[in-house]
Subunit: 161 residues, 6 copies
């Protein structure tokens, strides 16, 4: 059975991330979404909240598991018996960083292969940082994240004021 890991900060998950998860599920039998621990001051949402937002967004998708994650990604993949790491590619700058990480990961464990997928072009420009900036500035974010994420984002932004 074909098992892949898709890791990230997801602060918060966007429609771009969700599009990639759905594309990955067409390719692999099982997908584990690994939500990276981050120092609390660096993120808007707690790790538990970031996990919950993805679970709610992908509800009913039985081949997908969402888990908190810390440490080395290849080590984590090995423990989960996953043989693939899924990454999204949108920009040249993504590409170089991803390339560097993938080569490093391959050096750490050559048995785990990195697969790159391309999100829908409608999400090319999307990233969590931009979405947070727009929300902070009071702009509309409903076309970038699911409705339940938008609600949490509004609340988190208000709490920060």
């Amino acid at each position: 059975m074909n098992h892949a890991v898709f890791a990230g900060t997801f602060d918060p998950v966007t429609n771009g991330h969700l599009d990639l998860m759905r594309r990955a599920l067409r390719i692999v039998d099982r997908l584990t979404v690994a939500v990276a621990v981050r120092p609390e001051k660096g993120v808007l949402f707690s790790q538990a909240d970031r996990v919950a937002m993805i679970q709610e967004s992908m509800h009913g998708e039985t081949r997908l598991t969402v888990e908190p994650f810390s440490g080395l990604l290849v080590e984590y993949a090995r423990q989960r018996k996953a043989s693939m790491i899924i990454r999204g590619l949108r920009f040249v700058s993504d590409f170089e960083y991803e390339f560097q990480m993938a080569l490093m990961n391959r050096r750490l464990d050559d048995g785990i292969e990195t697969l790159f997928l391309m999100p829908s072009e409608a999400h090319t420009f999307l990233n969590s940082t931009l979405v947070k900036e727009i929300a902070m500035a009071g702009g509309p974010v409903e076309s970038f994240v699911p409705a339940h994420v938008e609600a949490r984002l509004r609340k988190a932004v208000e709490a920060r004021r």
Copy 2:
């Protein structure tokens, strides 16, 4: 009437920024330079000082206005009844970030078009961060910024010591 916004941090304004403003004024009837608010600890000059340095540099240019700015750029442009955002492009890395911002802004308001201009090649390497680093290290900056900016830069650097 053709009205564009040119936004940035301008900490401080360089000859590269001024070159772009002059090029923009050959294309548009009216140019508003929007100086972004930033957390005080992240910048060397206050927002008021950053506005003043541009005003002094472009003195006598009646079709140009300099204003403090915060919030969403497309929202700001809409309020000013500007239909264009002007951006400078020098490097591939600029290009990708700018592309992402421009696509996001277009999604937020398709009525506002982003125009990219190219600064003179004599300013390709210039940016405010490098200019500040050189000034901090005691190096010469007179060919990178106007004389009055250089004087302020020297004073600000000394105050930091």
Copy 3:
């Protein structure tokens, strides 16, 4: 009055080119589309046909003129009393070539400014060469070019067989 030139081979014009022309007309008062002469063996359509396909696509747009063109673009712009050259940007590789051309053109005539616009992300991947390859392979092109261009493309492809 604000007059710009938009030059290309347009073999054939695509929805991406037409999107850029419409965006340019929101910025300038008058747009001249300059259709470059090419050695007949290098193109699928004659220069006259490439001009006609753009005229038909932009029919009724009185501020736009389509003309055959050969020689130096800055020289042509100067003769037409245009002060701007419009270029589309989609990719890093576009960017570098365009940057090089724009610097060269500025060196040849500093009075003519190059403006870069970004096509809709729905057309990011589009170019005339890909469209021709798909048509040659018998694939569907109706979402990439106007209907009348598609008809001509089918005919041209059949004549080549």
Copy 4:
């Protein structure tokens, strides 16, 4: 069952291509290598020879099929009932071209996903054109291609003289 297509010119197949095929076979159940037809004057080896060199290199690999191919890749994938296209990525310039092709292919058939893999860094610099140039100049190619390909390459180069 998981079936992917890996297409190219393979004129001739290099160790970099073979590394990618082996990596792909760790991810998919079945791999079809599609060898593109090319005008005879543009390639050193005939389509039949290019097919044969891959078959010989991957001999014994029962989950891999090598086939001549012409036309639209997505159409071909659909006929073979493959749901994935595999592509190798090494450079930024690869990336942009591949991105453009993948977006175009997705537009032509959204049911076929493009997966990008990274070859071993030992093969980053390898491509068929460089290998042919070295062989033409009488240089050593034995570390870039399998021995049987090297022998054919020597013979083809001599025949050209």
Copy 5:
């Protein structure tokens, strides 16, 4: 006599840096490695430790000197009577930053030339930040740094816990 400066943070020095130093010594008569001062909170090792780790790694290499450094690099090179700055290039993103720095340095002193070298492809993916992240996560770093650096890295990571 041919004298060059190779500057960096080296927090800690990696096999990639050492490979570049050895390549530089094949080209120049004398090489000064300049270890930049950094705010203590931004680095894992003190400036003295970073100097010592390079000295130990390049022990016996009489044409190489390692020194602490602060201020402007071109000014420093001038004081040392070096006429060249050596930089490593691996990625497009490196390239653009390096290009910008080199143009700025040339503007500050046209008598000092910047030379770019390419590290071995086995080290393409290596950088100090990644090495520290792996060490922090308890992963293996012995193939990325010399043994004595690995020992110090383990100790420094434990002290942080």
Copy 6:
């Protein structure tokens, strides 16, 4: 003694190439400029003329030799007992191609190091192809090439008509 090779087509030599040769001569003791043979139909000037134009431009520079060249560059450098290959870098696209060539050359002979230099930013946009296009279109090229090259270029262009 420090000996480097600088190879190219030089069809014709431009001020950008000459700037790089002068910069190289500040770094190395001896420079051999290797002018590549090309199929006559692909170039405007014969190999002998391309050699002569460089010799005339660098007249009096005793540490520089200009020679016709064919075959493998590393082989040629080895025969000339040169230990370095000099290359110019201006653009990201240059960079990737150069990187690939330099890795290949290192694989062919690890004793020959490739050094990258940066031309003056005044020549960033310059290349022989653009210069020829401008000359063909009757545009001014006197600021891009030496006067004697300009004269030859005019004559060659007229002969083609």
